[in-house]
Symmetry: C2
Subunit: 590 residues, 2 copies
């Protein structure tokens, strides 16, 4: 059987646009002589559609689009993700569904059983699992009985998952019902390292049930989430036999019969069409019709995810260009390089906004970066606005200020925040006046401990690197320079001590522990949900651990108002980490 994996990049809510794209891919798959074409989960609505699903008209529109697509499907079998109403008057109102379309009609519908409701996923907010009596319902493609499942349905392997959240195993049900091929329609967002785990998991499932497994993932950025594509096919022995592109749309065509699967006798309904299947390969990771490739790993995958997430956020929001502040530091340099990779240098504007505390090298490093990347560069000193605040606003505090003393901490903090907010105001003026989206340049480490100014450097429509720890920012910078074959990001921006330059001779390490230590503690606290006591037991200094945890908890109010940030770790701030603000949980180390 020849199957096309339609790894598309839908836009959330754009039912009309997604329909056009689906029809286009169906046409291409038909032209390539495939028997079936498989699309990602909820591809008609884009994933995640979130509360658009609560609009009855939105659900109607997606159902109407499915019918329209069905009418144009002829010989091929098309498997399309959509939102279906729950026919049972009791229970949540929708199903997360796929339909099999063939010969001008909707042949059958299949409902997701396992509904992820953790991290960024909210599926039980909308969906009811498919009724038990439908769980062993197979489809026929030609003569072959096929088991259809949706994303999470595949993720319940007790050998690999630390805690099984679900009692059902839909894949086992499909196997028991006699499925000869397993097809999974998915929308699985990128997290660094996750694709390796997927391969391990899916391979184990294919091997366990002795059936080939076709996994089709969505690609593209939707708000915080980046879907990496990386659709894959395994043979009945669990061997990876094909892999689609990462971070790009793709139509991957695989002939399962060529791979010694159990589906030996399948003849197909479009015999005589040219053979576009992947060549057999002994490499564990894979060739496709697009040529030999090794899967991107680690830092490169983060880089690609951020570039795609940035590009798609602008495109899907209707922006064509971006502006950002260039401080001469590494965070804004990396963000600028990512923006150039996503949009092209002519679509990026860098603005340096020196203050009276800025060092000469800040402007020089910012300018060097802009020149290296070829982006427009402007210098707008903040002194006139800063001075205006000093003379027109600060005296208003006089009645309560500490007289005759050294500047108090509150005065210092206020003055630093005023400078950061003037910069935010300037950048937003550029955005409003010239139509650029403002990119926020803060990293995960500073967002974690609140080392950032709300309405200041936190201004922006998208926080490009807010899920990247500072130590990983350095790796990204080195990767970007290595990839370019030269120091796009000035060596000085990488090597100098990080500083906000909001008062004389300030460095980040005046206020924070060294970043490698900070990141090590934050990783344990945020991503691993370890307690202060657990972290101290690992050998970290107790007062430092308690201080960082307190800073992190106390900064929740800033993060609540942060720009959406592209998720690359297993636990990003934002939608997938829902913490109360007005709370008083006290950690101890005893």
């Amino acid at each position: 059987m020849k199957i096309a994996l339609a790894q598309i990049n839908p836009t959330v809510g754009d039912i009309a646009g997604n329909t056009r794209k689906i029809l286009d891919f169906i046409g291409r798959a038909e032209a390539a002589g495939t028997h079936a074409v498989v699309f990602p989960e909820l591809c008609l609505t884009g994933y995640p559609p979130k509360d658009l699903l609560l609009k009855p008209k939105f659900v109607d529109d997606n159902l109407r689009a499915l019918e329209l697509i069905a009418r144009s499907v002829n010989n091929i079998h098309a498997i399309i993700g959509f939102a279906q109403r729950n026919a049972n008057p009791i229970g949540r109102p929708l199903h997360n569904a796929v339909a099999l379309l063939h010969a001008g009609r909707i042949v059958s519908q299949h409902f997701k059983t396992l509904l992820p409701t953790y991290d960024v996923f909210d599926e039980t907010r909308y969906f009811e699992p498919g009724p038990a009596e439908l769980r062993n319902q197979l489809v026929r493609i030609g003569d072959t009985p096929v088991g259809l499942s949706i994303c999470e349905d595949l993720w319940n392997d007790e050998r690999l998952i630390s805690r099984r959240l679900y009692h059902q195993n839909p894949i086992a049900d499909l196997h028991a019902a006699g499925a000869e091929i397993m097809i999974n329609s998915s929308a699985s967002p990128f997290v660094v390292g996750k694709h390796d785990f997927r391969i391990q998991l899916f391979s184990a499932q294919a091997r366990q049930f002795g059936r080939p497994l076709v996994y089709v993932n969505q690609v593209g950025g939707n708000d915080e989430l980046v879907f990496d594509g990386n659709s894959v096919v395994f043979d009945a022995q669990g061997k990876l036999i094909a892999q689609a592109k990462d971070f790009e749309e793709d139509l991957l065509i695989v002939d399962l019969a060529e791979h010694g699967s159990k589906v030996q006798g399948f003849k197909g309904s479009r015999e005589g069409s040219p053979a576009l299947g992947v060549p057999h390969s002994n490499s564990p990771l894979l060739t496709t019709d697009h040529g030999l490739r090794t899967p991107t790993q680690g830092i490169e995958s983060i880089y690609k995810a951020l570039v795609l997430g940035l590009r798609d956020y602008l495109r899907k929001c209707g922006f064509k260009s971006a502006v950002l502040g260039l401080s001469g530091g590494i965070d804004s340099a990396v963000t600028c390089a990512l923006a150039v990779a996503a949009l092209g240098p002519d679509k990026v504007v860098g603005v340096a906004m020196p203050s009276r505390f800025s060092s000469d090298h800040s402007i020089a490093d910012a300018r060097a970066l802009a020149e290296n990347l070829g982006v427009k560069f402007q210098i707008v000193p903040i002194e006139p606005m800063h001075k205006a605040y000093e003379s027109a606003v600060y005296p208003q505090f006089a009645q309560t200020a500490v007289r005759g003393a050294d500047p108090t901490e509150a005065e210092n903090l206020t003055d630093q925040n005023v400078q950061a907010r003037v910069r935010g105001g300037i950048l937003m003026a550029f955005s409003n006046r010239l139509g650029h989206l403002l990119l926020t340049t803060g990293n995960k480490s500073e967002l974690a401990v609140g080392y950032c100014t709300l309405y200041g450097d936190m201004c922006g429509g998208l926080a490009v690197i807010s899920d990247v720890p500072k130590t990983t920012i350095y790796e990204l910078a080195e990767f970007i320079n290595r990839q370019a074959g030269r120091d796009l990001i000035p060596r000085n921006s990488i090597s100098k001590p990080p500083s906000a330059e909001l008062r004389p001779n300030q460095t980040d390490q005046d206020s924070l522990p060294p970043y490698d230590l900070l990141d090590a503690i934050l990783h344990r606290y945020v991503e691993e949900e370890k307690s202060a006591a657990d972290i101290v037991k690992e050998g970290f200094d107790a007062p430092t651990v308690l201080r960082i945890i307190k800073l992190c908890d106390r900064s929740e109010y800033k993060r609540r108002q942060a720009a959406p940030g592209l998720k690359v770790t297993s636990r990003a701030f934002g939608f997938g980490r829902r913490m109360p603000i007005a709370q008083n949980y006290q950690q101890t180390v005893d």
Copy 2:
């Protein structure tokens, strides 16, 4: 049986503090000679604990606190909400639980069956329903078999709920098992009109099963949510026989035997203690030991909810005072009056920030308000900062500005936003320097259509009235003046046309339809999830409806960065309305 309803105001995460409060209320209930004392849902953690529940140590701490409380419980039966681990290795890791404590130990534990996962609720993110075999497990208080349930367990009445989300009916199970009294431990947040519905629903349940019903609700503000208390008791005929205070902590004591319930023969375990039960009353709504009261309705309940929500947000975040901008308009006036009611006039600072476009009456109205309310008042003109932006930033746009033409829309917009952001910067400087929490004064109507400036008038730690439509703001202003017996809010602030005063002779109605029309359309779109076509069918002008819907959808990016806002309607922006930003759902009216 004499039951104490311990309507407490816990702080989320503050297990130690909540434990002290629980012990205090147990002591008071014992001193009053009650047989049982009932606390709200998850009272040990505070509701909603959100992702604190993902911290294993947090769950440990709450379990340890429960044991500690159990050891100090003697004759009384205490029913306490807490988070319990799921003993089954498969399924979500926790149960939403109540324990019955008596004679120094945990007698039994009971798990919530119906887990709300809609609007602001995320319970299936954390909890597994109690196992089916435990659903008919009763407790004994004295000789009486009692059925314990938790919040949503009571909300599955097909006669009153438009769509039943759940197949189970835990109350029917408890009834079938022989419960003589139904007790429900709850954390049900305020929505205007909801308490009337609760009374209807609970009365119907008590009548249906012929059992008295004791409902104990949490009180207090936790971030966006305000819990109104209003704990109630119904007799076996469904008659409301007692109601606790609204928007305040309370210990309401009811003797069910005095109310002709089925529990006639109950003798109690503390005979001889003084009778503190409520006097029998024929009034449908109720007397308590605190004296005669009518329940607050409509606008008064919104007022009380906002005052409590504001007070608790500051208190639980550790703030003692608030600052806000006073424009002379009605929104900031109402917000200021609410702040004074919550904190006292000496804890509120109002700052007027006139621009070159401000009218004389703006300052006069702001000053009059401040004087009426007795709050500190300062005037900080924005001209010096505005001028600095004009001379130091605007020329930077020159290369792309439209020359020789009238000011473009983008220039206008930029200049207006700069002014709003200078104001935000000034207010944040006051906040940073003097330790006041900045209150945002925007209403729901303008937040809906994006008639507000991100990092400008949207600055602030709490958006007090961001879930109150503009038309309701007028009602609130009249209510505040009526309650005071004089025009605390200057008549002129109420009667003048609303204006942002960011350019000459500007009024809101230059950009928006009249507020009564805007609010009518927004209510249908946001709260009722109606489509453009549905709204037009009701007689609204199609281009206006489409324009408002588009403005609303396009403003999602602003709301994503908005301060948490106190929820008073059935659908507030924020946590309970999860919309994608980069989306392209196109509504039509055909």
